[in-house]
């Protein structure tokens, strides 16, 4: 049990870290938001599952499940809202032909 939980927590923290790096390193708004979105959803889910496995108390597990469901609904929606707002304001994604210009 402990090992599985540790594994989940590790994956979660790795995703958080990579998401943070992604936000800093990616070239434009959409890719950055992709990084942030992945961090928000998957990493949070992983960490919450890891915590659930750690907890002996059923009530805590139920609360964590509710938080998990909420984040699963809310953070993709928030990313979607951000992206569509960006499209709406004519922010063009950076496409690959950057290399061709160089």
């Amino acid at each position: 049990m402990d090992i599985t939980s540790a594994l989940f927590l590790l994956i979660g923290s790795f995703l958080c870290l990579s998401g943070g790096v992604g936000i800093l390193r990616f070239p434009d708004f959409y890719t950055r938001m992709h990084a942030a979105g992945v961090t928000d959803t998957l990493a949070t889910a992983m960490i919450l599952i890891g915590l659930m496995l750690q907890s002996p108390d059923a009530l805590v597990v139920i609360k964590l499940i509710i938080i998990l469901l909420m984040t699963l609904f809310i953070s993709p929606t928030a990313s979607h809202a951000l992206a569509s707002a960006a499209i709406h304001n004519n922010l063009k994604p950076v496409l690959e032909n950057k290399k061709d210009n160089e």
Binding site: F73, I74, T77, H80, A81, S84
Partner: protein, 314 residues
Amino acid sequence: MKDLFAVIMLAGIYSLLSASFFVAMDAVDVAFTEASVGAGISTLLMLVAITMTGRSEDPVRHKPILALVVVVITGSLLIYGTLDMPYFGSVDAPVHQHVAPQYINDSMQKVGMPNIVTSVLASYRGFDTFGEVVVIFTAGIGVLALLSVARRPGDIAEIDSLNKTMHEEFLILRIVAKMLIPFILLFALYVQFHGDFGPGGGFQAGVIFAAAIILYTMLFGMSTARRVINQSVIQLFAAIGVLVYGSVGVISLLEGKHFLDYSALSADPVAGQHIGILLIELGVGITVASVMIIIFFNFAGRENSQQSQENNES
């Protein structure tokens, strides 16, 4: 910084950060209030305000040097002042000597609330809280007096066509919001009535309730929301909240006790305190929720009416 949007976002982030350090200092109630009021609803209301005022600041004409000098002097005076203060967390600090021990030792027998913050806020300092509620109510009246616009009743066909275009644009947001809004409302009620036992209370509950309705208004359009939520009823509710709070005080006066002394409400003083706190928290919640909704509706409604005027002129 010239972009007001960025300024508002920074203010919201600052509020959220201060909420987290309140949690770190074990002041969960304060953190909850800061997160819901400071980071949540006030950011939202300021965003609505800049849709009316425009996004960038006017160019500054005066020199910033003067302001910097004032800030530096005030800041150094404040730091000089802290030198005399007792160390953080020290036992013989005046704060821990004055009334705090009394609250911690007596509130369980006298008020019987597991959450001392609620018993201090609602019972020991009931008069101050009454003042706060009146301030919020006055703010609502002020917004109504200054910004309220005479509006024509929306044309149903127009609303429907608007609804259809919005439906395509915000399909995902609408569906998710539809699923979430009942839970947000339920959570607000939980915070309202669980305030005696855990962190929470009328202020936070009112703000969360209002946030759910504002979310609905943003996604389903002003006119639809106005059909769902009757403005005059909301205004009535804002007054009812203050009235409930005040009349609890008047009842305890009539029973021959002090103003807002809830032990007068029942034969058993502790049960009386429970009833009193429940009632005044309800009053706080109703007033806060309705005033927030009033402020939002009047800000956003004004924006709408300005737009339609411009459309008519062009």
